[in-house]
Amino acid sequence: MRIALLSLVAVVALAQPVVVPTIPCPTPEEVLQFLAGMNLSPEFRGALASVLAAGLATGRATPTVSLLLLRDLSSLPREAAERLLEPIRFALAQGFIVDTGLTGSSMMNEVRKLLVLGRRPEEIEGVLKTRLAMLLATRSVLTRYGLVHAPPLPPDKPLPPEERFVLEVAWGVSDFLLWEGGTLTDPRLRTFVQTRLNQLCAVGVLSAEQCSWSATALTLEMFQEIGRLAFQPERR
């Protein structure tokens, strides 16, 4: 009888679909503790720790991806690790989202992807600098066109919802230029970014207001201007 009962319990357990467990989530303290033990210059480590702590507290970064990234970079020489972390530190200091966690692409996740792909640190650094330039240019252009109202906020201030829109537009434009082999004069640029934003609206990542901007206010000229500003920072 006991065997029969155990069999039934097993049936109940197996009736659930086989689901892969999710990645464990560390605490922000664990992330900062790991960072404190990394082989980085004290000045850089201090500067990164302050913005990362603020970013983790306000949703601009997540403990899971941050810790995995720091673990990855801890195996690199100090100079290489600092060169890869510097664009992330700068972006955080400017109040940008550097890590959307496990729900999309961002600077931190991009580094992890490129490391898995076996790219060299110099190549990854180049991609990060392009992403950072795109973020700065996107915020500048969208602010000029009145689509972003809030001024840039430091990472310890609450995250404005517009920052996700800035991130997704910047990511769309830079994906087109970096990975699709596109140019700023290519008319497919608007379709590419617009399609991306439409999909993000459909799955509920962007708010209704942002979807409205996406559908009506964004133009090819705006995307081209973002690209020009990113590659000519003196115009920013």
Partner: protein, 178 residues
């Protein structure tokens, strides 16, 4: 006719009637008792309930009831419609006959490998991963080799020459493979 003769006749008639009826009365008491015994007692619902629970519960009945409950629960889990969760289950599947190890890496795992399984050995490797709404880049690793083009992907990107699949999860752009 004299009065005493009439009385005699009446007595004789009554005696005859009693003698005739006495044959039908034979065993009447027994028949009444039997009839009463056959008649079900009409007890109230509470009395019947009390009587039911007053009976000793056999162990097999308890075990049977538990089994039925567990089976019903399992069947219910399999068949009952569920509300759409915030974390939708997403099926990742790839055909890799002869492969020794297959994993999926992506934004959803911070590009850490999540192993796929092929329990029946037919070369179809699968994993179900719960994901919140979003846009996810991912690829498969088949025996450590990058396989970036998933037929179930919504779009593809090329990163440094390697394909990366992209899947949108949630809303009207919900994953079509789940």
């Amino acid at each position: 006719m004299r009065w005493d003769e009439v009385e005699e006749l009446v007595r004789a008639a009554l005696t005859r009637e009693v003698q005739e009826a006495s044959a039908g009365l034979a065993g009447l008491e027994t028949r009444v008792i039997q009839a009463l015994a056959r008649r079900p007692l009409r007890r109230s619902f509470l009395e019947r309930l009390r009587a039911f629970f007053a009976q000793p519960v056999p162990r097999w009945a308890l075990v049977g009831a538990t089994c039925a409950l567990l089976l019903g629960f399992a069947l219910g889990r399999l068949t009952a419609p569920r509300p759409i969760p915030a974390y939708a289950s997403n099926l990742f599947v790839i055909a890799a006959p002869g492969a020794r190890a297959v994993a999926v890496v992506g934004d959803f795992s911070a590009w850490q490998p999540i192993p796929l399984s092929d329990p029946d050995g037919d070369g179809i490797w699968t994993a179900v991963i719960p994901l919140p709404p979003g846009r996810y880049e991912y690829a498969f690793l088949v025996d450590g080799k990058w396989v970036g083009q998933d037929p179930l992907a919504h779009e593809y990107l090329r990163t440094f020459g390697e394909y990366v699949s992209v899947r949108y999860v949630g809303g009207s752009g919900a994953d079509r493979s789940s």
